[in-house]
């Protein structure tokens, strides 16, 4: 039974991993990674790491993958550039990976660790439970635990800084056409030429629909007429 489950999960994990690398569409790659993560959670269960299997399903396959799906949907119809063209990297990449695989297998199997050949020592029923992991995490590994929480905080702040809307850095030509009529977050108002003005001044004609244009600069010639 254990063997059957292992081979099913291993095939799922390797198939999911191959799907991530080989599929053209990024959305399918994300879904393939979800399948890979579910198979990996089954492997964690076989290794009696119940808490980590649950965390893998909830945190990874749930939350992190939703983030990926959102970004894929946001970026949308970007045509996938696919594999790298023309370089030696494209041809040498799989060779490089195969070399790593051979080296790792030699390192693991040739290491002569006797315990690798067994199923591991017999463990009590509570092995891998949240209580055991949590006790270790809060007693022996308290400093790494706090460092990890601080790292999460830094990552959250960094993501906000990276993905915020930069007004003023963009040129007009760089502006996305889909967002042309959108209200900027800090601007508060439509930068379009007002409808009731029959003679739009030259100042507004160059920048209608550009959210990066300051509202004050935009409206000032309107008041002058």
């Amino acid at each position: 039974m254990r063997e059957v489950l292992f081979f099913i999960a291993a095939l799922g994990a390797i198939g999911g991993a191959m799907g991530v690398v080989l599929l053209r569409n990024a959305f399918y790659s994300v879904l393939s990674l979800v399948a890979h993560l579910v198979a990996l959670a089954l492997l964690f269960l076989l290794l009696t790491a119940e808490f980590l299997a649950a965390a893998q399903l909830v945190v990874y396959a749930g939350a992190v993958m939703v983030l990926y799906v959102f970004v894929v949907a946001y970026i949308g119809g970007v045509d996938d550039p696919g594999l790298r063209q023309g370089g030696a990297v494209t041809r040498l990449g799989p060779l490089f990976a195969g070399g790593i695989l051979i080296e790792l297998c030699i390192a693991v199997i040739g290491s002569g660790l006797d315990a690798l050949d067994g199923q591991g020592p017999h463990v009590a029923a509570g092995f891998g439970s949240p209580a055991e992991v949590g006790r270790l995490l809060l007693e022996k590994f308290l400093v790494p635990f706090e460092a990890a929480s601080f790292l999460l905080l830094l990552a959250a702040v960094g993501a906000i800084v990276l993905a915020r809307r930069r007004t003023g850095l963009l040129d007009e030509a760089d502006e996305l056409p889909e967002r042309a009529g959108e209200v900027p977050i800090g601007g508060g108002g439509e930068p379009h030429v007002p409808e009731e003005d029959p003679h739009p001044p030259a100042g507004t004609a160059e920048g209608p629909g550009d959210p990066t244009v300051e509202r004050g600069d935009d409206r000032e010639p309107v008041e002058a007429t």
């Binding site: 994990a13 191959m18 990024a26 994300v30 594999l83 790494p144």
Partner: protein, 99 residues
Amino acid sequence: MSITWFVVLSAFIFCIGAAGVVTRRNPLVVLLSLELMLNGGNLALISFSRMLGNHEGQVFALIVMVVAACEVVIGLGLIVAMYRNRIPIDVDGVKEMRG
């Protein structure tokens, strides 16, 4: 079912991820392949934790998950920033980075 099988499987997953990082051009897929590499490392950590019969490898794997989540958040933020600045979504397209 000896522990060796799990460790060799983790080596397989790590290498598939490494091949993806090296050969793909879409930064989203590069991030996904990085996840594969981290998951291969996690599987090895948990295998060795089972081999030794203590929980420390599992705690280590949990910290690796946290680091992976941070990496995902920063990487996706970078991709969104690339998209906003009309840089092509291509790892070869990022010639320079500015604030």
